[in-house]
Amino acid sequence: IFYPALIKTHIFHRDTPANNPETPFEFTPEHMKRVDAIINNYPEGHKAAATIPVLDLAQRQHGWLPISAMNKVAEILGIAQMRVYEVATFYTMFLREPVGKYHVQICTTTPCMLCDSDSILEAIQNKLGIKVGETTADKLFTLTEVECLGACVNAPMVQINDNYYEDLKPSDIEQIIDELKADRVPPPGPRSGRFSCEPAGGLTSLTEPPPGPGFGVRPDL
């Protein structure tokens, strides 16, 4: 496999005590309502179309996808288990190994790399004491390197669970980790003071109010 290792992308499942068909997994009643709503989106006989959203919901509920969760999804949707395995192994966002409470995903592709994502990565590794792909001993943090997250203007950045933390300096990320350790989720977004992705040195375009109607029109019209 050529690309750098994400969380173990093995394409074969081996039963372990923590991950086997008997691992308990059931959708909670509210989540079951969501599952029904999702299934309702698709026509009769095409329940299999709901595989991706229902798997995502299962992952959100459990944190990751044990084999029993995939089997449960197969049962709910009335499709063969293999079809669910095929979908779950195709997408890298479906995590088939346990992750910590906070999944720290650092982008290390070109734009972020040019803005020194390496120092952020080093800072995280030193702070948490783990390497890429590993989880901390207290099962709180898992560190992975991921592909471009689409926040190139605010490079370097990390994604923690569903939040982007952008415009980072090594001190920023250490602060974020401290707050997470104290069980407070810091507000997402850029850490450099800007609101989102506007130019850092002030606006370079759209600096004046828009011209009103009649701008650039011949005087006699």
């Binding site: 496999i1 394409i11 074969f12 499942h13 081996r14 079809r83 395995y85 095929e86 192994t89």
Partner: protein, 724 residues
């Protein structure tokens, strides 16, 4: 969704071959293949249009019995004036297209695809079993480039253990997905799939699972490369050094057409032969892998029980004289015979003629068939009248007391094909089993059967709506004491549904599914079904012709009775015999076998029988001469003329004689006065572990034993040599 998606594709795929009566909208379209005009039905693919003209387009993932995948891209051909080459297997033709199958662009496309396929393919040809019959080898020689520019490293994939029958070396896999489609469409077990993507895609079961299907061996034929090969056959022979003999399988009653590959007088492997009417292109695992039982437990020498009760080897003269002597001393009901499940019609007729000349007609088969009512006098009573292909035309199927999945796997695969593509509705009265397709389970008691026959069961409402109903009765239910009553009930159901459906006269509703290969031929020749006659009048001399079910034992016979056993394996029958005559197995004789449809087919000699064993009818002819009642035939042709004399359909090979008189048979069965027992209808083969060892040959097979072990204890429990 598999049903709806593939049904439209399957319709277009099979309609041009005229396989079934699928109603295709035949607007003929004219296309040109390399300038040659050809008229095809609209909806046929470019690949099929080219095949019609005789041009074979190379492909890996396309298979005419599976749904179209279009992922190998080897079938790319140029269409004149089109910007890009098209995948011939998936593109339906348009009017006026000129398909250029050998143009510059087409050739470049093929070379490119072949280069990609070979880039990750290991250099295993010398150690790969598929060498010599490998699609990749053949197509790269014909269509690939003659030089490589590959300097990178290749990927490797770990092997999966999917059972003791299929050897997987997944590094060789080219991801054509034929096995995945076969497993989910034809076999009905959706265990194989494509996990991962891109370079790290793997075909497998993802979890550690065995590919547990009775048709699993067919993926070995399907796989175009050496990724899936036969484990028992591994490293034993190359295809060019084997001799191929066309023959018939006799391990079940379907009569699948096979090719026996032999080398040096030994059976190396068994492959399927194409027969659209019987087995299409598939054979069951028992048929494919039980051949190693042909080399074990064989009776190779004539044997005689000496004074101490031990069987000792002796000469043919000795045994023939003894047997003839015993036969000379008896008349009428003092001599009887029991025929087993794998006996050819020639031996059956020779034995009958022999015993008839001794004034005896006590010739029985081990399998029972109720003689009350019409019994075996009307052929339509004991045949699969609708034929295996009839299942594709029917719209409603009722199974009674049978598990066709393990009793006749190829019949079951035809039912599944119809269920998948033609929306066949299936209902079953009998023990609930996994048939690889969904069906309505009506219950397993005879009560249910009675109610359906009387018209009081709620399901009768569905039954009357069927336009082309078919009822299949398993022969295992007829072995019960109330077999006649069951037959009467089923006959009533069949007759009622025929009347209510308004189907035309030529359509047959009632069918019987047999489980042994020689039953229909024996009944055609006039054997009495079931050993009742022998049990009532125990004979002094009993002739067991391949009879290994143990229906008659020494305990049933008078104290000083003389048992003669003629067969090919030392199984139950040989142990109780006084004299053993070694016969030939199905790969060693020219025999006529009639399958459950009534189709006569012949096996051919692939290897000679081991040791002193001889063909069965020849042994009986020799006995008859020494006993003074010489049979009037000396050659195979003469025996077959005698067969024709008795029942002409026995020598009309590969043809099915229509049987009729259903109404009359039904009238006769109405007179049967037997009541149904309360016992539920449970077929003897319920799960896959009951499938593998059912007759002397498969019981002697080590491969079958490994299968049973793997199924009961898991694939890891089977001892495999480490080189595999």
């Amino acid at each position: 969704m598999l049903r709806t998606h593939s049904s439209s594709l399957a319709m277009s795929v099979s309609s041009s071959q005229g396989l079934t009566s699928i109603r295709a909208s035949s607007n003929m379209v004219e296309v040109f293949v390399d300038g040659k005009p050809v008229m095809v039905e609209s909806g046929t693919t470019v690949l099929q249009a080219c095949e019609k003209v005789g041009v074979q387009i190379p492909r890996f993932c396309y298979h005419d019995r599976l749904s179209v995948a279009g992922n190998c891209r080897m079938c790319l051909v140029e269409i004149e004036k089109a910007p890009k080459p098209v995948a011939a297997c998936a593109m339906p033709v348009m009017k006026g297209w000129n398909i250029l199958t050998n143009s510059e662009k087409t050739r470049k496309a093929r070379e490119g695809v072949m280069e990609f396929l070979l880039s990750n393919h290991p250099l295993d040809c010398p150690i790969c079993d598929q060498g010599g019959e490998c699609d990749l080898q053949d197509q790269s020689m014909m269509f690939g480039a003659d030089r490589s520019r590959f300097t990178e490293g290749k990927r490797a994939v770990e092997d999966k253990n999917i059972g003791p029958l299929i050897k997987t070396i997944m590094t060789r896999c080219i991801h054509c997905t034929r096995c995945v489609r076969f497993a989910s469409e034809v076999a009905g077990v959706e265990d194989l799939g494509t996990t991962g993507r891109g370079n790290s895609m793997q075909i497998g079961t993802y979890v550690e699972k065995m590919f547990m299907s009775e048709l699993s061996g067919n993926v070995i034929d399907l796989c175009p490369v050496g990724a899936l090969t036969s484990k028992p056959y591994a490293f034993t022979a190359r295809p060019w050094e084997t001799r191929k003999t066309e023959s018939i399988d006799v391990l079940d009653a379907v009569g699948s057409n096979i090719v026996v590959s032999t080398r040096g007088g030994e059976v190396m492997r068994i492959l399927p032969r194409l027969n659209e009417d019987v087995n299409e292109e598939w054979i069951s695992d028992k048929t494919r892998f039980a051949y190693d039982g042909l080399k074990r437990q064989r009776l190779t020498q004539p044997m005689v029980k000496d004074a101490s009760g031990q069987l000792v080897a002796t000469t043919w003269e000795d045994v023939l004289t003894r047997v003839a002597g015993a036969l000379q001393g008896v008349q009428g009901s003092e001599v009887g015979a029991v025929a087993g499940g794998m006996v050819d019609a020639e031996a059956l007729v020779a034995l009958k003629d022999l015993l008839n000349r001794l004034d005896s007609d006590t010739l029985c088969t081990e399998e029972i068939f109720p003689m009350a009512g019409a019994g075996t006098d009307l052929r339509s009573n004991y045949l699969l009248n609708s034929r295996i292909t009839g299942i594709e035309e029917c719209d409603f199927l009722l199974l009674v007391g049978t598990n066709p999945r393990y009793e006749a796997p190829l019949f079951n695969s035809r039912i599944r094909k119809s269920w998948l593509h033609n929306e066949l509705q299936v209902a079953m009265v009998g023990h609930k089993v996994d048939l690889s397709y969904s069906y309505k389970h009506l219950g397993e008691t005879t009560q249910v059967l009675q109610e359906i026959a009387a018209g009081t069961h709620p399901f009768c409402k569905v039954l009357v709506q069927a336009k082309k109903p078919v009822v299949v009765l398993g022969s295992s239910t007829l072995q019960r004491e109330d077999g006649a009553a069951i037959f009467k009930a089923v006959s009533t159901i069949a007759q009622n549904s025929r009347v209510s459906s308004g189907v035309e006269d030529g359509w047959k509703v009632l069918n019987v599914l047999h489980r042994v290969a020689s039953q229909v031929a024996a009944l055609d020749l006039g054997y009495k079904p079931g050993v009742n006659a022998i049990q009532k009048n125990p004979p002094k001399v009993l002739f067991l012709l391949g009879a290994d079910a143990g229906c008659i034992t020494r305990a049933d016979l008078p104290k000083d009775s003389f048992i003669i056993y003629q067969g090919h394996h030392g199984d139950v029958g040989a142990v109780m015999a006084d004299v053993i005559l070694p016969g030939a197995a199905y790969t060693e004789k020219n025999g006529t076998y009639v399958n459950t449809e009534g189709r006569a087919q012949q096996t051919r000699v692939a290897v000679t029988a081991p040791g002193m064993a001889r063909e069965d009818w020849k042994v009986l002819r020799a006995i008859s001469e020494l006993a003074g009642v010489t049979l009037p035939y000396d050659t195979l042709a003469e025996v077959r003329r005698r067969l024709e004399e008795v029942s002409p359909n026995l020598v009309r090979y590969d043809d099915v004689e229509e049987a009729n008189y259903f109404k009359q048979a039904h009238e006769l069965s109405k007179a049967v006065n037997q009541s149904l027992l309360a016992a539920p209808l449970v077929p003897p083969q319920l799960t896959v572990k009951d499938f593998y060892m059912t007759d002397p040959i498969s019981r002697a097979s080590q491969t079958m034993a490994k299968c049973v072990k793997a199924v009961t204890e898991g694939a890891a429990a089977v001892d495999e040599p480490s080189v595999c």
